[in-house]
C-alpha cells in the first residue's frame, strides 16, 4: 500500500508530505521557544537587578560557537545541494562537517557549563542563570536531536540514495530545515543572553 505524495508533489499544494510535516513541526517549535523567550522577558523585567550578559557569560567562546553553528548551516545546505547535483561523495563530506560542527558546538557548551558549575553558578542561584541554563539547555537538546538525525542520514539512512534518490534528497532537505531552525534560534539566543 503506497501513501501518495510521499515524494511527488501534490499538484494543487505544490508540496510533498514530508515538507509540510517538517514545517508544521517547526511552527510548534517557534511556539515552544516563544514561551521560553516570554519567560526571559518576565524574569528580566521582574528582577530588581539584571546582570549584563558579558559580566557572567563567556562572550568570546559563544561568538566562536555562533560562527561554528552558522558554518554548519552552510555545510548542511551544501550537503543537500550536492545531492541535487548527484554528487553523493560531496554530500558525505558536507554532512560529515555539519555533524562535526555540531560536536564542536556541544563541546564548547559543555566546557562553558562545567566552568559555571565549578564556580557555583547554578540555575538555583538567580533567575538570570536559571533562564540561561534552560534556554541553552533546551537548545542543546535540539542540537543533539538534529545531529542524531543527520548521523542517521550520513550512515545507515544513506541506503535510500540507491533505491530512491529523490526521496533521500528530500529527507536531507527536511533534516536541514530542522538544523537551520536550530541555528536560527541560536542567532537570537546569543545576543539576548550574552550581549544584552
Amino acid at each position: 500500500m503506497e501513501i501518495p505524495y510521499t515524494v511527488a508533489e501534490r499538484p494543487d499544494t505544490g508540496l510533498n508530505n514530508g515538507k509540510i510535516g517538517i514545517w508544521l513541526f517547526l511552527a510548534s517549535e517557534v511556539m515552544l521557544f516563544g514561551a521560553l523567550f516570554a519567560t526571559y522577558l518576565m524574569m528580566r523585567t521582574g528582577a530588581a537587578v539584571w546582570p549584563r550578559g558579558d559580566t557572567i557569560l563567556n562572550v568570546p567562546l559563544a561568538t566562536v560557537n555562533t560562527i561554528v553553528l552558522i558554518s554548519s548551516s552552510v555545510t548542511m545546505v551544501m550537503a543537500w545541494a550536492s545531492l541535487k547535483r548527484h554528487d553523493f561523495g560531496k554530500f558525505r563530506l558536507f554532512m560529515g562537517i555539519t555533524i562535526l560542527c555540531g560536536f564542536g558546538f556541544l563541546g564548547i557548551k559543555a566546557f562553558e557549563y562545567a566552568h559555571k558549575f565549578h564556580e557555583g553558578l547554578l540555575p538555583s542561584k538567580n533567575t538570570f542563570l536559571a533562564i540561561y541554563f534552560t534556554l541553552t539547555g533546551l537548545h542543546g537538546l535540539h542540537v543533539i536531536g538534529g545531529m542524531a538525525v543527520n548521523a542517521y542520514l550520513w550512515g545507515p539512512g544513506a541506503k535510500l540514495w540507491k533505491t530512491d534518490p529523490e526521496h533521500f534528497t528530500n529527507r536531507v532537505e527536511n533534516s536541514g530545515l530542522f538544523w537551520h531552525f536550530v541555528d536560527l534560534v541560536w542567532i537570537f539566543l546569543f545576543p539576548v543572553l550574552y550581549l544584552l
Binding site: I3, I20, A35, T127, L129, F133
Partner: protein, 596 residues
Amino acid sequence: MSTTATEAAHAPHGGADEHHDHGDHAPLGFLRKYVFSTDHKVIGIWYAVTGLCFLFFGFCLVMLMRWQLAFPGRALPWIGHLFGEARMPGGSMLPEFYNELGAMHGTIMVFLGVVPLAVGGFGNFVLPLQLGAPDMAFPKINLASYWSYFLGGVTMLASFFVPGGAAQSGWTSYAPLSVLAGSGQTMWLFGMIFLITSSLLGSINFIVTTVQLRAPGLSWFRLPFFCWAQLVTSFLLLLAFPPLEAAGVLQLMDRLAGSSFFMPSGLVVSGQAVAYSGGGNPLLWQHLFWFLAHPEVYVLILPAFGIVAEVIANNTRKPLFGYKIMVYSLWFLGFMSFIVWAHHMFFTGMGTTMAAFFQTTTMIISIPSVALLTSLIISLWGGSIRFNTPMLFALAFLPMFGIGGLTGLPLGLSAADIPLHDTYYVIGHFHYVVAPGTLFALFAGIYYWFPKATGRMMSDRLGKLHFWPSLVFINGIFMPMFIVGLAGVSRRLFDGGASYDFAQPVLHWNRFMSYSAWGLALAQIPFIINFFWSIKHGKKVDDNPWQATTLEWAAPSPPPHGNFTTPPEAHRGPYEYSVPGHPGDYTPQFLAERAS
C-alpha cells in the same frame, strides 16, 4: 459484502509514487499486526479503547470524591479500607487524598480520556476513510504517537504509588504550591511531556493527511464537517501545546534544579522561608498553562461538533444547514481561542485594560460557537428524523451544550465573574460542555461508527437503556452545581462546604449529586455489555447500514488494510440527502454521476 479480497487493496492509486510499505505482502506476526500496527484503524481502536478505560478510571476517582462530599468524614464501607491508612485511615478520606483524586480526575479525563478518544480514536479511525485515503500520511509516526500517549498514561498512573502520592495541586498545577508539592507532581510533569509529544506527532499527521491525501474530487468544500473539525483541532493542538511543554520544563527546573521561575521572592510557608532565591513569577505559570488550556477546551468540543454534525445530517436525511458558515465559524473560533485565555485569570490582579481586552475577545468567541450550535439546530427543521441511539445522543448534545455555553457567559465577563470564580458554578459550566456535551457526542460516534469498525451493529434497545438514564442522571449531577455555586460554595473544598454557615441551606444538594453520580455509573452498564457483546453477536451489516453519504461508507465493514477495494472518488458534496428529483433519499459522494 463485509470482507473483501485483500489483494484488491493493493490497487494503484492515481498519482501515487512507488513507496514500498515494509512487510506489506509477508504475513505479519501478532505483535506487528495488532500491537505495533501502523494501520490507522488499529491505532484508532487502541486509542479509543485506552481512552475509554481512562474515562472509566477517572469516573471512579470522582465517585470516590462524591462519597466524601455527600457524607463528609464518614468511613466508606469495605472499599475505604483498600486505600490504606495513609489515604483513608479507618476508611475515612484525608484531605490530601481528596486533593489527589481531584487533580488526577481532571488530568485523566481531559488528557488521557476525552482527547485520546475524540481525536486519537475517532480522528485516526474515521479521517483517512472520510478522505478516501489508504492511511495517514505518516503511519509510523502515528504508531509513535499512540505509544507516547500510552507511556504518558502509565507515568500518570504510576504517580499514585510514589511517596506522597500523585499530583495534588489541581489539574492546573498552579505555582508555588505545585513547585513545593511531593514527587507525584514531578511524575505529572513528565507524564505531560509524553502526552504533549504524542499530541504534536498526531496533529502533524492529521494536518498533512487532510491537506495532501484527499481523494480525487474531494475539494475543500466537499469535505465532511467532521474532517474540518479535526483539522482545526489539530492546529490548536500544534500551536497551543508547546508553551505548556515549555512551562512544564520550567516547573521541572524549579522542582529539580531549584530555580525560581515561578517562585516569588520572600515566600514563607508554614512560618518557614522557602529555600529558593526568588525573583520568579507565579503568574507566568498561569499564563503559559492557560495559553494551552483554553484552546484545549476547544480541542474537547470541536471533534464533538464534528461527530454530531455527521450523525444529524445522516438521521434527518437532509443536508446540514449553513455548512459554509459552520466551516468559517470553525476557523474563526480556532483563531480566537488563542486570545481569550486570561479570562481564567480575572482575579490575578490584572488592570482594567487587560480585563476589558479578554472579556471582549471572550464575548466575540461566543459568536462562532452560537453559529455552530444554531446551524445544527436549524438542520433539524423539516427533517425526517430517525430516532436511533446515535441520533438520541446527538440530539441531547444540543441543549446540553447550549446550557454549558450560556452558563459560560457570566464567567467570561470580568465583573460578573467576581462572585462565580472558583465556585461550583464553574464546575457546573465546564462539565455541562464536556460531559453531557462532548461525552454524549462521543457516545453518538461510537454507536454510529461501530458497524464500520466491526461489521456489526450495536443493539439499539440496549443503546436506549444506556441513553435515557444517562441523560437524567448526568443532569442530576451538574445542574445543582449552579445552585451550590451561586450560593457561594468554593470548588475543591474537601468537605463540600460543610464547614461554612452560608453553605448549610444548599448542602443537601451534595448528596443528591452523589446519588446521581452513582446512578450514572450504573447507567453505563448497558453500554459496556452492548459494546463487548455486539463485537461478536451484533447484527451483521454491509458497507453502508446507515444509508450515509460520506466516503467511509464506500469501504467494506470492517475495512481491510488500505481501506478501499477500488480507490474512491468524490463526485459531489458530503450531504446529498433528499435531493429533489433523485431516486431514494440519499446520493453518496462516492457514486459516479448518474446519466441526467
